[in-house]
Amino acid sequence: MEAVIQRAKELLEQGEVKAVLGYAKGTGSARRPHFARQAGQLDKLVMDEACVQNLAVYVTKHEVKKLGKVAVVALPVTQRAILQLMAERQLRDGSLAILAVDDGAVKELDSASALEEHLALKAQVLNAKDKASLADLEAMDQGQRWAYWQKELSRCMKCYACRNTCPMCYCDHCTMDCNRPQWVPVASHGIGNLEYHMVRTMHLAGRCVECGDCGRACPVGIPVHLLTIGAEETVHELFGQRAGHKAKLDYALSTFKTDDKESFIR
């Protein structure tokens, strides 16, 4: 995995990028996002199986944009997130040097079209564990699912880690912050948690790149990633569209087909 770090060093030293965004060793066996801006900080970069977080969450932050052009170590999920962000006009071509890492191979891309072609080569596969959990959920009946989610969501304390770790949740003023009118209650009581997670799922349906970071970020371990990944899979089944595969916006809920099939509208 030295290749990606080597390439990152070259880019920084040649001044092509102002910073390198990759992974570094963290507390215990954890890995953490790491910004290397001078040569000294480069040697902390690591790249191994434990590096899973979607670094695309940083590319839309004002502080990171102020740094100038950044080289990003991009796992497949990060690549898809960056492409979706470009489709939603949050990033311009050339603002990032994307070091696409796929099973060890490194490819440097810096435009949406290049990213789109690169992503077209490999099919997006849902990991087995999430697939199984989604199947378990599907198998439950309505009462069981309600009980399951009520038990899980009762532990939510609305720390918003799931929202803030998601690369697609880049809005400075989120609907949760909207208080005129206060659509979703701020307090983390029963209805406040339920509506927050419902609205978050709806906002990610058709936009989620299925990286699973929201589930990992939850301090109390609520499997919230099942909601958003489930919604994304639903959008794929219903409309055949997937987030993060097109340079041009291809968002299921802002387009339509006159013959969309459904069986529940009377």
């Binding site: 959920l137 439950m140 309505q142 009462g143 069981q144 699912r145 309600w146 009980a147 399951y148 989610w149 009520q150 009762s154 609907t175 659509w183 979703v184 307090a187 983390s188 009581h189 029963g190 209805i191 406040g192 948690n193 339920l194 509506e195 997670h197 419902m198 609205v199 799922t201 709806m202 349906a205 058709g206 909601l227 489930g230 919604a231 639903t234 959008v235 219903l238 409309f239 299921a252 809920l253 802002s254 339509f256 087909k257 006159t258 969309d260 459904e262 529940f264 509208i265 009377r266």
Partner: protein, 110 residues
Amino acid sequence: MRVLRVPCTGRIDYMMVLKALHKGADGVIVSGCHPNDCHYTSGNYHARRRWMVFKKMMEVMGVDMRRITFSWVSAAEGARWAQLVNEVTDQVRALGPYTEFRQVIGAGIE
């Protein structure tokens, strides 16, 4: 049954349905013109997609979707609207108050 008037199904935000349930409604009807007859051309096409995703999400979270009815009724179909409303009110009365949801509203407050 109380009515909330909006210009088009395209305007109906799923958060309105959530607010209705939050305020204690036991059943919700979401209705508007038929696809292809939308006075605003494509409002109901967008609404249909939104409803398809919203319904699946609500089912995944275990909400009793028998209480939420989606239906295309045009302004000219007075009789059909009356029949739909009667049917749905009977169906929701049979299901009884949505206590399962109501318990959540007060929960979690010390």
